[in-house]
Amino acid sequence: MNKKLPAPEANLPLPAQLFHVLLGLGDDTLHGYGIIQAYEALTGGRETLLPGSLYGTLNRMVHAGLLEEADPPPAQTSGGPPRRYYRATAYGKAVARAESERLERLLAAARARKTVPEQSR
């Protein structure tokens, strides 16, 4: 997969689920369920990723160059079905950063309009 990737900003606004996956992954190498758990832990259990649509999304993200499939981390070779592990590519991280900056700008605008109470920071 050596095609030329568009600039990270060209992906904005990033579809929510893609952003959530990138958030859940961070710098880790995880399988699908691991991404769900990490994302849930990150949001205090108030947000989730649903398995039915997640795997298709992961597949598309790999094709879009945001993720790459990776070997399982050494400690994680237990039983269960064979799992695919993913990690964010440098490009994926750049896109996530760009989306975060976009959201930050939006939030600042919302604060200026007082639609966000100050203490919610």
Binding site: H31, T48, P51, N59, R84
Partner: protein, 903 residues
């Protein structure tokens, strides 16, 4: 992420051992995904789904798990269809037809073929569709109720964080909150984001032709914003309206605005006279806003008086709070308990012994409707299982008959998977068609179901056949298609097609040996039917007991109604006492009236508890009893027997010595010798000269409801104390109590034309209404039990008939060799009854295991009641025997010569 690895191991283990229904459904939903998607991700996605369900179940309960499961299922279905559409678009643009395109083509062909096959055999299709429609319909109807009542979040902002707070009396009863305690809670609790208070109140509306009693709610400023439903028109209440002295205002419900003011915008600013006070209408609530039972028409500001906000001992507020995001209820409750023990230290004279409790608003709203609904849903599920077993058996028979066709298709190169898919498609089509019919049935049934509940089901207005219900029906239909299709698929495509091709089928004794799948189904059907009938039997048993409970008074020929005297016109105790005495006397002057009286709280309807000091009793003993204020004719009117001493007389007035009458329980609980007459009681903390002499003992009456034993009760003459402004009238009629309604209204009107009488009902209706939930369960379980028995009987009959028809030759040979027809009959009956017996044994085991669920609902019967179990077993045995006898007689009537010629 070290932790994730550990967790995964645990979940991996549970995934292998317990494969729940949800997982199966999720797998089914994944069928919408393209094949290669499923190969790549199917197992992982299912694992993640099962893990998600399990985690929610252990952390947030089964309702949260259920909600997550439904959401994930919809998501899987949606994304599956999306994947397919993308895939087929890709295929359409590509030159070569993809696997997906081929699949879709095959699917279309299969569907066409399935329709043709099913339409060609109405004798098979019709009974199957009826059976499935009944099963799916029953489940869908009940689910629509469960969804609206239990599953759906309340229609308020952040409803899942809403928590009802109640105080607990020193005696351990849940109680309303006093305004100063509420203020302390609001100021001190850090786990709460916000709190508000309300109290339901009954108001007299005047200005129309007749005075009318209507429900209202007094609410704190900000109440509607708290719930996320500010008035659609006008304004909310202002903070200054929380206190008395502000200009009197009122906000209308949308319904009241439409009914009483024709929905005119000019309504704002006009006045409404409530309890004699003219109030300015300042707002109208949005359409569809509902809060509290009985759909209150008017909303008033709190208008707390100086006394209200200063007295910690006066409890009358309902308190609603919202947890801070991420705060657990337990944490908040812990903090509240700390606040309350602080209050106890600070204000021992009012708060000693008082504590606090809190629970989700949803739980408060649903009350005890939860168990009956879940039991009904479970029962409907059992009916569906029986229906599936029956349909599977019918299909098995059909597949065997179609053996030759399938064999030919197989011989002509039809692949095994292709055949399996064809058969499965047929059953999915059947399932979906049954589901559509069932949905129609459910749609019709839901309204009748609600009528059955007689308005006693909380949140009943939210019951509807909506998206969630449609999804439920769809998933159930798919599940039914697969369940009923599996056995025929296995049997119909098993390699033994050559026999079928030879056209001989099975011979002689082989037939019986072959039908083991079907016999298993029959055993399961009998077992499930027995469990359902057992449930019905237990409900019937306990219902009969409930109707036979001695209430302690004669409920026949009694009319009851409620009267509230407006404080503005009946200011003194003497005026109120005189009114209730006069109305009783006036009523008794009518020839149709045998006796009439007034009482503070009617039996069966509630509690009004006081704590007493009993001179001579141990110091630390806390005697609590129900306190009932009555007019002198009360015992006579209710026909409550006088056991010793005397009842009340007109002479027991305000200037006479204070007297009381107690019930039997009171006498025996407080006095070891049970002799209460002549002894004295006084309220806790009251001065000694304010003690009441017990002058009589009367029989017990059930105060809290039919199920609850009579509590210790103390009766006092209403004229010797400050009588409440609201009392219930009880009128005993010579003829039908319903005919007295007009007399009662007229008598009230003569005394005070501006006074409404409300909640007019005969005592028999009140008793019957209080058993509504039991009646609904009995009717529905009875219906399910009946369907189950009929389906089970059809199942046995079908299997035995089929086996007899397959074994005509065997029967012929037996008879030709000198076997008596009677022996053949016995053999067939025994074979059938062996199945039934196995089913009965399994059913009994199942009943005993599952019976615990009913414990809360039953009255006076144990879940494993041997008498009920015996009766139910006998019933199932008789039905099974009948179902076996018909085919057995046919077997015995076989003509040997005829049967041997057949081959």
């Amino acid at each position: 992420m070290r932790l994730a690895g550990k967790e995964r191991n645990r979940e991996g283990g549970s995934r292998r051992s317990g494969r729940g229904l949800w997982t199966v459904l999720f797998r089914l939903a994944l069928l919408t995904q393209p094949r290669d998607w499923r190969d790549r991700y199917g197992d992982e996605a299912t694992e993640a789904f099962a893990g998600g369900v399990a985690r929610r179940k252990s952390e947030a309960g089964s309702v949260a798990a259920l909600r997550y499961a439904l959401k994930a299922l919809v998501d899987a279905l949606e994304s599956g269809f999306r994947e397919r559409i993308t895939a087929s678009r890709r295929a359409a643009s590509g030159a070569k037809q993809s696997a997906v395109g081929r699949f879709l083509d095959t699917l279309r062909a299969d569907l066409r073929y399935a329709h043709r096959v099913l339409l060609k055999r109405p004798s098979f299709t019709l009974p199957v569709l009826i059976t499935l429609a009944l099963g799916i319909g029953a489940n869908t109807a009940i689910f629509s109720v469960v969804d609206a009542v239990i599953l759906k979040p309340l229609p308020y902002r952040d409803a899942e964080r809403l928590v009802q707070v109640r105080e607990i009396t020193p005696q351990g009863f849940g109680f309303t909150v006093s305004p100063p305690n509420f203020a302390s809670l609001r100021d001190q609790a850090r786990a709460l984001e916000d709190a508000t208070a309300y109290r339901e109140t009954l108001l007299t509306l005047t200005g129309g032709e007749l005075p009318e009693a209507i429900w209202g709610v007094r609410v704190s400023a900000g109440f509607f914003e708290f719930l996320g439903a500010p008035p659609a028109l006008g304004r909310s209440f202002l903070p200054e309206e929380d206190e008395a002295g502000a200009h009197p205002t009122v906000i209308l419900s949308h319904g009241a605005w439409q009914r009483r003011f024709g929905g005119s915008p000019a309504t704002l600013g006009s006045t409404m006279v409530l309890d004699g006070v003219p109030r300015t209408i300042v707002g109208v609530l949005p359409r569809g806003f509902r809060f509290a039972e009985g759909d209150p028409e008017v909303w008033l500001p709190q208008e707390f008086t100086e006394r209200d906000v200063s007295l910690r001992g006066r409890h009358f507020l309902q308190v609603l709070t919202r947890l801070r995001p991420g705060t657990e209820l337990e944490t908040a409750l812990e903090e509240m308990r700390t606040i309350w023990s602080g209050l106890e230290e600070q204000y021992p004279e009012t708060n000693a012994g008082w504590s606090v409790t809190a629970f989700p608003l949803l739980q408060y709203v649903i009350g005890d409707a939860r168990t009956p609904l879940l039991v009904l849903l479970g029962s409907a599920g059992l009916v569906l299982l029986i229906a599936c077993a029956n349909v599977a058996n019918l299909s098995l028979a059909r597949v065997e008959r179609r053996g030759r066709e399938l064999a030919i298709r197989s011989a002509l190169g039809g692949s095994r998977t292709r055949l399996i898919r064809q058969l499965l498609t047929e059953h999915l089509v059947l399932g979906i068609m049954g589901g559509v019919l069932g949905l129609g049935l459910a749609y019709l049934a839901v309204d009748r179901l609600l009528v059955l509940f007689q308005g006693q089901l909380p949140r009943a207005d939210a019951v509807a056949v909506n998206g969630a219900v449609l999804l439920f029906a769809f998933i159930v239909s798919l599940g039914v298609g697969v369940l009923t299709g599996l056995a025929p698929v296995v049997q119909g495509t098993s390699p033994d097609l050559f026999g079928a091709l030879r056209g001989t089928g099975t011979r002689l004794g082989q037939a019986w040996a072959h039908g083991s799948v079907r016999r298993t189904f029959v055993i399961a059907e009998v077992a499930l039917a027995l469990m359902l009938v057992m449930g019905t039997g237990l409900m019937l048993n306990s219902f009969v007991r409930l109707t036979r409970v001695d209430l302690g008074f004669q409920k026949e020929n009694l009319l009851t109604g409620q009267i509230s005297l407006p404080a503005a016109r009946y200011q003194t105790a003497a005026e109120r006492a005189l009114f209730f005495q006069t109305i009783s006397d006036d009523l008794e002057r009518n020839v149709e009236v045998v006796a009439a009286a007034a009482v503070g709280v009617l039996p069966l309807t509630g509690s009004y508890t006081h704590v007493f000091d009993v001179p001579g009793a141990p110091e630390d003993a806390m005697w609590q009893a129900e306190d009932r204020l009555v007019t002198p004719g009360y015992f006579r009117t209710m026909r409550i027997p006088l056991l010793s001493g005397r009842g009340f007389q007109q002479t027991d007035g305000v200037d006479a010595p204070l007297v009381a009458v107690v019930n039997e329980t009171f006498a025996h609980q407080l006095y070891q010798d049970g002799r209460a007459v002549g002894r004295r009681v006084k309220f806790k903390g009251a001065p000694d000269e304010e003690s009441w002499e017990i002058v009589g003992v009367v029989g017990n009456t059930r105060q809290f409801g039919v199920r609850t034993e009579s509590p210790a009760t103390l009766y006092r003459p209403h004229s010797q104390i400050n009588p409440p402004s609201s009392m219930a009238l009880v009128v005993r009629s010579a003829g039908s109590p319903r005919d007295l309604a007009t007399t009662l209204r007229e008598t009230v009107r003569t005394l005070d034309a501006a006074l409404p009488i409300y909640q007019l009902a005969t005592m028999e209706d009140r008793v019957s209404d209080s058993l509504t939930s039991e009646r609904v369960m009995l009717v529905l379980l009875g219906l399910f039990g009946f369907i189950a028995v009929v389906l089970g009987a059809i199942g046995i009959f079908g299997v035995m008939s089929y086996s007899v028809s397959q074994r005509t030759t065997e029967m012929g040979v037996r008879i030709a060799l000198g076997g008596a027809p009677r022996d053949v009959l016995t053999m067939v009956v025994l074979q059938g009854m062996k199945l039934a017996a196995l089913g009965v044994v399994l059913g009994i085991v199942g009943s005993l295991a599952l019976g615990r669920i009913l414990t809360d609902v039953l009255f006076g019967v144990e879940p494993g009641d041997p008498v009920t179990l015996g009766a139910v077993t006998a019933l199932i045995a008789v039905v099974s025997l009948t179902a076996c006898l018909l085919p057995a007689r046919r077997a015995a009537a076989v003509d040997p010569a005829e049967s041997l010629r057949q081959d």
